[in-house]
């Protein structure tokens, strides 16, 4: 199973202070681009893989989703999600994404924000997710971008030529990355862009769109606090549609 760092009290305390946990979806820089990838959720049966505090589940419910199932490994996060949720159309379930086996054709939209890089067996989860979607159903997910997750040192530095650079190494060396994030020993899994793309396709999806979330030259100039994001993407976002038949 994947590491459940979210129930570690020290991690949980730090994580809860993040803008996206205090302010919800609007506190997440990439949310406008995630939202743009989403199909209409009104009337849809929605699945949120790694739902955390339930921000997206409530957003979907407010927009008329027929039903929303939010799943997460963290009981602490689900407790607060449940407290904060009034809509009767939303259910939460505690489980490990590495063991999730959803019912066949039971959803129209599958969503996941920054959870798949914790999953041990991505192929298994994507196949299960494809099977849980009706034909034509959509998958929209984000992960840490592989350029972001790859390096031995995940921090900008000044290069020998005097440029501000992201010291990339081990991009093609897939596997665990142990980082310090509120606490030491947070385990994520580094995969290449190609591995994500091919896993989506192999699971029976047609890839519709990719977003490498960071900042264009124009965005970096307009928002100096985002200047670093022109140098390396932060998140990888994919939108895919379940094809009629597995390929």
């Amino acid at each position: 199973m994947a590491q459940n760092i979210y129930d570690n009290p020290e991690f949980h305390a730090g994580y809860s202070t993040l803008g996206r946990q205090v302010h919800g979806l609007d506190g997440a820089a990439e949310w406008p681009e995630m939202r743009a990838l989403l199909p209409e959720v009104s009337g849809a049966r929605v699945l949120d893989l790694g739902c955390g505090f339930g921000w997206f589940a409530r957003w979907a419910a407010e927009r008329g989703a027929h039903s929303v199932l939010g799943v997460d490994v963290s009981s602490k996060m689900l407790e607060r999600a449940q407290e904060d949720t009034e809509a009767a159309s939303v259910r939460y379930q505690q489980l490990d994404l590495d063991e999730f086996v959803p019912a066949s054709s039971s959803f129209d939209v599958a969503f996941s924000s920054l959870a798949f890089h914790y999953v041990r067996d991505l192929d298994r989860l994507l196949s299960a997710t494809a099977g849980s979607l009706a034909a034509g159903g959509a998958l929209v997910f984000s992960v840490e971008h592989p350029i972001y997750s790859a390096p031995s040192t995940q921090a900008f530095e000044t290069s020998q030529a005097g440029d501000r650079v992201w010291p990339l190494d081990n991009y093609l060396a897939e596997g665990e990355r142990v980082t310090s994030w509120f606490v030491d020993g947070v385990v994520k899994r580094h995969r290449t862009v190609a591995t994500y793309v091919n896993a989506v396709i192999n699971a029976g999806f047609v890839l519709d769109r990719m977003v490498e979330f960071g900042a264009s030259t124009e965005q970096a100039q307009a928002h100096p606090e985002r200047a670093d994001d022109v140098h390396r993407p932060w998140f990888l976002l994919l939108k895919a549609t379940r094809s009629g038949a597995a390929r």
Copy 2:
């Protein structure tokens, strides 16, 4: 139009010494992975965009392609391609890929090796290529990987932590990159992985597979001369199929 550096005598002299130009396809490290992406060419009408000395055109002809059209902007390269080609099924044509307008549904397989990063208008070329393929026709192409083409300094260095790193910057700043490669002033165009993927999809293709060509940990250990290739991919390879209808 794209820069035609290949007719520069000094560039041409240097370029002609590359392993892949002396030894052909087997001199290109990525050829086994390109070949694995290709559909059966026997009986197919094949298009090679940026055919150079004609190595792939002859390979396809030898494997029973119905016909092969190799196009390239460089008259020097096409002269040698023609000299080296005996098969009557192969034709060559000099033209700029930024101006190429192939006939509708006239090909079954479109191939391109390391040429699209010179093209000014990728969307136009991919739409034209999609239009030139019969429904179900395949596109297989390679470009310099965006991680390779992005940085201000395209060379490994030792990071502050003492690691061998690829000093990545400006990944999301798309546009021209002027490099020194046999001669100064070689102009290539840097695009992100997402831009390539979305351009392929927008042109009416279904993406089938992505390869980020470099070296896995195992390959790097087995081939010490390729150790650097575990740190950053060298080429991006994509295989796509023309869908029945433009999306």
